[in-house]
């Protein structure tokens, strides 16, 4: 038996969706469902080894080739960038990036430079660069919605699923097509070449079971 293919999963919701997909393919994922505190988990019938990591780390591990493949959201890919193959749009983990401001405030009015709070400074910068707009960006780690309420920022750029949190805090979405997000299967560029047939088999199974 060959060395197993190592795949890094983003902990949390994407992990659950991916495990669902692996089970649909027919792999026994009890080791992941009952993982305890373990971080490297075998899926022997798929000759896989699953690693659980935070989204940014999934990219880092795949880029360095210590994991052959990874499942990570497009938001993280756009924010981090990096060199790897982005093979499959897995379709789950869908959400979108939106620009929101305090209700009733006109974001595009006036000549002053706008301040934006976000967890995703690169995506925000690129978006406003493409509009030719010069903005100040402040990186916030927790609830971004706070920043306009505390008047630190004129608006926020964040991932939106339902928009309820925004509404409850008196914010409204003024642009919601900044970029659509879903989970992607990424592959290390060298693994893709040196373990081509195994990876292609796996990708085939994944695509058939989406």
């Amino acid at each position: 038996m060959n060395k197993p293919l190592r795949i890094a999963l983003t902990k949390g919701r994407l992990e659950k969706d991916t495990v669902g997909l692996l089970e649909k393919i027919g792999y026994d994922c009890t080791s992941i469902r009952e993982k305890g505190r373990k971080l490297i988990l075998p899926v022997p019938d798929g000759n896989l080894e699953v690693v659980l990591a935070k989204a940014n780390d999934v990219i880092t591990y795949v880029e360095h080739g210590v994991c052959d493949m990874g499942v990570v959201g497009k938001d993280t890919i756009q924010e981090m960038e990096g060199k790897f193959y982005e093979l499959v749009d897995l379709g789950f983990g869908r959400c979108r990036f939106a620009l929101a401001t305090k209700k009733g405030q006109s974001f595009y009015g006036g000549y002053n430079v706008k301040t934006l709070a976000t967890k995703y400074p690169n995506i925000t910068r690129k978006h406003f660069e493409s509009k030719g707009m010069d903005v100040d960006i402040i990186k916030i780690e927790g609830s971004v919605e706070l920043a306009p309420l505390l008047e630190l920022a004129d608006g926020i750029v964040d991932i939106v699923e339902t928009g309820t949190t925004l509404k409850e805090n008196g914010l409204e979405i003024i642009e919601d097509n900044i970029c659509p997000i879903s989970a992607r299967l990424i592959v290390n560029t060298v693994s893709m070449k040196l373990r081509q047939s195994e990876i292609e088999n796996f990708v085939d199974l994944v695509e058939k079971n989406l």
Binding site: T60, E63, H64, G65, V66, K83, F84, Y85, E86, L87, V88, D89, V187, N188, T189, V190, M192, K193, L194, Q196
Partner: protein, 399 residues
């Protein structure tokens, strides 16, 4: 003010002992190989004018360059690459030399990488450039063979050389009459094998033979069967020619005893402004990035004022050295053969005796201790097996 006098800048490190031996071993292996094929070494300056690295065929991202200014305020960069300086010198100081020129280099290149990603900002690269000569096919073949030899010398069972041709992609997109930025987007999506986004973009452009072929391009990698697949998908005279040549190169390289070690990727589309023909990459298993990169670049030297075709490759010496260390195939630091201890009044004699042994080919250390006992203790702790005492007579003690 905080002083940064105890650490090295981000992305750099000190190399000690075994690390140095591993790097030197790779450097020596490559130098012997290159010299064996008639290449001569050149060294280019560590700093160059920024202008040499900007311009369409030599596009380096501004943010990746380490910049400083010279005494006249002109913009200087730390050398980010060796091929461009060599192209400059080929087009200037060597412009009247007989061709072909066979040049090799072994020097550091610098790039300003994103912080905390585990990348080195200073990397030693060694490589060759074969410049001039009318027979492009022979030149390509020579350089590819040298690349395979280099990879095999590192790890003969676990390497892969992958060949492609930049003309395949260029020829396809040329027929679509697209804006440059759309071509660039297609190129990036192919380069990252991003099938979903590539399909969406090409669907917008239209459904025809060419867009269908481009959609398949990221999957056109693997063994020789890829070339058959490619010619089934789309072919015109130019593409048929490109595929025919790749097939020949593939078969010839495989027949050198490297069956199964050569593969094809028509989706290698990086640096399309720079490369003009065959392109290739070398991999070692367990190393997450390619360790060798090269290709044909017929327009670069011309952009410095003298048209000359050229082909070459560079090896990431540091990656290979780390790989050898991980495999345990690196050389180890050995203790010297003996410690030479001069009794009181025999210091000069002791050094003279040490010199004599060194000239005869031994490795020795001269003892700085005052007593024989301390010298023996030191030799033991360093794993040195002999102490030679110089006094009226010379005595050897095994420790």
């Amino acid at each position: 003010m905080k002083r940064y006098d105890l650490i090295t800048p981000e992305g750099t490190r000190d190399l000690l002992f075994e690390d140095c031996l591993a790097r030197r071993k790779v450097e020596r292996t490559l130098a012997e190989l290159f010299e064996g094929f008639g290449y001569s070494e050149v060294v280019t300056p560590g700093i160059e004018f920024y202008d040499a690295f900007s311009g369409s065929a030599r596009n380096f991202r501004q943010e990746s360059l380490y910049k400083l200014t010279d005494s006249k305020g002109r913009l200087i960069v730390l050398r980010p690459d060796s091929t461009i300086p060599i192209a400059r010198l080929a087009a200037t100081r060597l412009k009247d030399s007989d061709t072909p020129l066979r040049l090799y280099y072994n020097q550091s290149v610098f790039s300003n990488n994103a912080l905390l990603k585990g990348r080195s900002d200073e990397v030693v690269q060694a490589g060759i450039e074969l410049i001039g000569g009318d027979n492009v096919k022979r030149a390509d073949y020579e350089v590819l063979c040298t690349a395979v030899e280099a990879l095999a010398s590192f790890d003969k069972d676990n390497f892969r050389l992958e060949i492609g041709h930049i003309g395949y992609f260029k020829e396809l997109v040329a027929q679509l009459n697209l804006e440059d930025d759309v071509i660039e987007e297609i190129r990036m999506l192919i380069s990252s094998k991003n099938f979903p986004a590539l399909n969406d973009l090409l669907d917008e452009i239209g459904d025809n033979d060419i867009t269908r072929a481009l959609k398949q391009l990221p999957s056109l990698f693997g063994g020789i069967e890829v070339l058959d697949k490619a010619s089934d998908i789309y072919a015109n005279d130019k593409i048929t020619g490109i595929l025919y040549n790749l097939r020949k190169v593939f078969n010839r390289l495989s027949s050198l005893g490297y069956e199964g070690k050569i593969s094809v990727d028509l989706g290698i589309v990086s640096h399309t402004d720079y490369y003009t023909g065959i392109v290739f990459k070398g991999y070692l298993s367990e190393v997450g990035q390619s360790v060798l990169k090269g290709g044909r670049y017929d327009n670069l030297i011309g952009s410095f004022g003298k048209e000359m075709p050229a082909v070459g490759f560079g090896v990431n010496v540091d990656s290979v050295a780390r790989h050898l260390e991980r495999m345990g195939a690196n050389p180890h630091v050995k203790p010297v053969d003996a410690v030479i201890f001069g009794e009181k009044g025999f210091v000069v004699e002791a050094i003279a005796y040490a010199q004599k042994l060194v000239r005869e080919g031994s490795k020795v250390e001269h003892s700085l201790f005052n007593s024989f006992e301390e010298t023996v203790e030191y030799a033991r702790s360093k794993g040195i097996s002999k102490v030679i005492t110089v006094a009226d007579e010379i005595t050897e003690t095994n420790v």
